[in-house]
């Protein structure tokens, strides 16, 4: 299957300072992909390059097989995006804003499609109000509505949960899932809310100081275990003979690890096994660990 997004050796400097260095990744069609990183890690620069708003110093971004740098209009023809905080014309209504931004797609979009997007984001009751009367959450929804018309194949969301209350975050999560599950839209998003990314994304890339330090399925990380054993020194030797490797206060288990076999060996060696438990690593743990490394 052709990738929806392909970033090839992207490199960008602002002045002498490199903002991103050698970013390469691919996002297949139908995936929800998360781009993670601290502020200034290079997420917005990467998104900016993907939308043709930032010119890369080197490298190229492809969307649906078209180079953003060489044929931007074709590359962005099937793209909906919220890049940084969505901004609107405050004095115009939500509907007028929507119509204006959609007109720049160059496609003759039927009114019904606009209405469907407004319904989908739950703004139907307030779409005729001036945007200056909208809450932050309503602006985010309007931002999402404009990104959904005309129906995109790929949607890029920069901090879609920024400033939303817990209910808004949950609704946004539901909407993003629907976009992929019901409409088959590929989604790429960045967020500082790692618990959201954990629930939504199939794969993630982690940027740190402009470099990509991880890209893949973070859940496919090593199987971690914690043990409470006595005496420790002898027990640790046995753990090592069974292929376990220490990682901070946990142990990385080898492939095909069977805890029952290990426990039997420990007991036979006279070790008191007071406790053993698999470590459920969250994305936050994984992210912080990866950044630290």
């Amino acid at each position: 299957m052709n990738p929806m997004v392909s970033l090839r050796a992207l490199y960008k400097t602002f002045g002498k300072r490199p903002a991103i260095e050698d970013i390469s990744l691919e996002v297949p069609e139908g995936e929800i992909f998360g781009l993670l990183g601290h502020n200034g890690a290079g997420k917005s620069t990467t998104f900016g390059i993907m939308l043709g708003m930032v010119a890369p110093s080197r490298g190229e971004a492809f969307i649906a097989g078209h180079s953003v740098q060489k044929s931007r209009s074709q590359a962005l023809a099937g793209v909906g995006a919220i890049f940084e905080t969505p901004s609107f014309y405050e004095y115009l209504s939500g509907w007028e804003n929507l119509r204006f931004f959609v007109s720049l797609s160059g496609q003759d979009v039927p009114r019904a499609e606009l209405e469907t997007a407004v319904e989908l984001v739950g703004l139907a009751d307030r779409i005729g109000d001036p945007v200056k009367n909208y809450s932050h959450g309503m602006r985010q929804r309007l931002g999402l509505a404009q990104a959904l018309v005309p129906r995109p194949r790929f949607i890029l969301l920069d901090e879609p949960n920024d400033g939303l209350d817990p209910l808004g975050i949950r609704e946004m999560r539901g909407m993003i899932r629907r976009l992929r599950d019901e409409f088959g839209i590929t989604v790429m998003l960045s967020s500082h809310l790692l618990s959201e990314v954990e629930q939504l994304c199939d794969r993630v890339a982690i940027l740190h100081r402009g470099k990509m330090v991880f890209c893949g399925k973070w859940k496919e990380t090593p199987d971690l275990w914690q043990f409470t054993l006595d005496p420790q020194e002898r027990a640790h030797e046995i753990l090592k003979t069974h292929g376990l490797k220490p990682l901070q206060d946990s142990w990385v288990a080898p492939e095909g690890f069977d805890p029952a076999v290990l426990v039997e060996a420990l007991v036979r060696a006279g070790i008191h096994v007071r406790g053993l438990q698999p470590v459920r690593q969250t994305l936050e743990d994984f992210y912080l660990e990866t950044i630290r490394e």
Binding site: F14, S44, T45, G48, L51, G52, M53, V54, A55, R72, S73, Q74, A75, L76, A77, V79, G80, A81, I82, F83, E84, T85, P86, S87, F88, Y89, Y91, L92, E96, R99, F100, F101, S103, L104, S105, G106, Q107, D108, G143, Q146, A147
Partner: protein, 281 residues
């Protein structure tokens, strides 16, 4: 073409839905009424009567609504027109960059060149609407005050002194307005150019006004009288030549060709500056 018109309609809606767009319209009305009040002062009236009667014309025939209307236009258009066109054109790109709405536009497949062209077209339409408004309100104010009659044109800096019957006078004014629009488009283009550069909206407006004020000041320094025609505001005044008995088309063509070349150059430079920018907060 249909999509272009729809997009242009959106740009115009944005422009004309803003309250500040109408500040210029309201300000012109106030200034026109002030100028009309000043023209009614006995000392000013006597001066105008002396000018006409000295040339052998009856002041009562030519101190008409047409004459007053044109005088109001001549005295207000460059003074205030520059201010409001600089305000609108100086804002049109830079304010959207500052507000973040341009980022939203650039998420769409429309090219930067197309977005700039749409904005420039909207500014030109605004310039035309404002100019026609100035002409109509000035003439209406003149008519309400002095009624019908012939047209007396006195523009000493352009060396024009002319008298027309009412019909021909209206014709000359109608002919002058499109040229006035072209002249004022130069202000719009300068504002637009600065708006495309990396500067705040207020800075773009101030830079535009500075260009015009410096040009006007230099033009009026007596030492530079020999090169007066070289100055931008002198070229922009070429529209008034339609009031000469024999319209000097060759001079007008030269002046407007010069202005057109300047405008195209500024647009190209503005486009190049805009296209080479990275848009990221």
């Amino acid at each position: 073409m249909k999509m272009f018109l729809r997009q242009l309609g959106g740009e115009l809606r944005k422009l004309f839905a803003r309250k500040r767009t109408y500040i210029g319209f309201a300000a012109f009305l106030v200034v026109e009424l002030i100028v009309l009040g000043l023209l009614r002062l006995p000392r000013v009236q006597r001066g105008l009567e002396r000018l006409l009667e000295g040339a052998g014309y009856a002041a009562s025939d030519y101190l008409s609504g047409l004459t007053l209307g044109l005088m109001i236009m001549l005295s207000t258009v460059f003074l205030l027109g520059a201010l409001y066109l600089a305000l609108v054109a100086g804002d049109v790109v830079s304010k959207e960059i500052e507000d973040g709405t341009l980022r939203m536009m650039l998420c769409r497949p429309a090219s930067r060149g197309r977005i700039l062209f749409l904005k420039f077209c909207a500014c030109v339409i605004y310039t035309a609407v404002l100019t026609v408004y100035i002409a109509l309100t000035a003439l209406a104010a003149g008519y309400l005050h002095a009624g019908g009659g012939g047209l007396f044109v006195f523009a000493p800096t352009e060396g024009i002194f002319a008298i027309y019957e009412a019909g021909r006078g209206i014709g000359r004014i109608a002919m002058g307005v499109p040229f006035l629009i072209l002249s004022l488009c130069t202000i719009t283009t300068i504002g637009f150019f600065f708006s495309c550069l990396k500067m705040k909206p207020a800075a773009a407006t101030i830079a535009t006004l500075s260009v015009l004020f410096v040009d006007t000041i230099l033009k009026n320094i007596p030492f530079f009288s020999g090169i007066r025609d070289w100055f931008l505001t002198a070229k922009m005044s070429a529209w008034a030549l339609v009031f000469e008995y024999r319209i000097p088309w060759e001079i007008m063509l030269e002046q407007y060709a010069w202005l057109a070349a300047l405008n195209v150059t500024l647009l190209v430079l503005g486009y190049l500056a805009f296209s080479s920018r990275d848009f990221k907060s």
